[in-house]
Amino acid sequence: MKVKIKRWHAVATWQWDVNDERCGICYTAFEACCPDCHIPGDDCPPVWGRCNHAFHMHCIMKWLNSQQNANKQTCPACRQKWEFRA
């Protein structure tokens, strides 16, 4: 028997490879975007610190920028100095 495919319709789902399901700063899911964005995805990614805690990139940047003192630029979860994981 021969089958001829006339048409097909593919559906895919995606999710970030993050341990937590939501960002600890804005409390929205990583699959959703931070409160300042409208479209989830590559434009609003999670980022990791060397301590392995993850937040929306925009959320952690807002937190770090709100701390004038560089010593206070810490991970919101564990208070270690925040450094982006390479």
Binding site: C26, P35, W63, S66, K72, A77
Partner: protein, 183 residues
Amino acid sequence: MSTAARRRLMRDLKRLQSDPPQGVQGAPLDNNIMTWQAVIFGPDDTPWEGGTFKLLLEFTEDYPNKAPAVRFVTKMFHPNIYNDGQICLDILQNQWSPIYDVSAILTSIQSLLCDPNPASPANSEASRLYQDNRREYNRRVKEVVEQSWIADDDDDEDGDEEGEEEAGAEKEKGGAAGGGGQA
């Protein structure tokens, strides 16, 4: 208007309702999610038992990157609470972190009641009595517990009623608080 701070506060409210912590309640005013009223119930088996202590939390658009301004509107007697109701608590000042929410703030303040830090006194008399004369300290605490019932007789803190009236009552009480002076 929907801003990051307001959306976060909506999530805080949902969490407070779906997973309510023991002995604390809080809700925004009917017409303003940036200002919340809260009640902390005095923990059982402590001198604070039975007290209903009301607080006001004022958030800015910088929340959760900045802590809210929190103060008791009920008169307090506690080593780390000023006469005007302001609270000396590290997580509300330099140890603030944006992962805290309203629920975490209220439970932290609740645990401060029974676990004061006499090393950073905001009320020197309370601090001194706490260290030197615990019996008298407990008596003074029980006094504010009893006052907390009288001061609250014009409303009950059961739900989402009469935001405006309550807000008015808060202002009056805020103005009346702060007598007594520190030693």
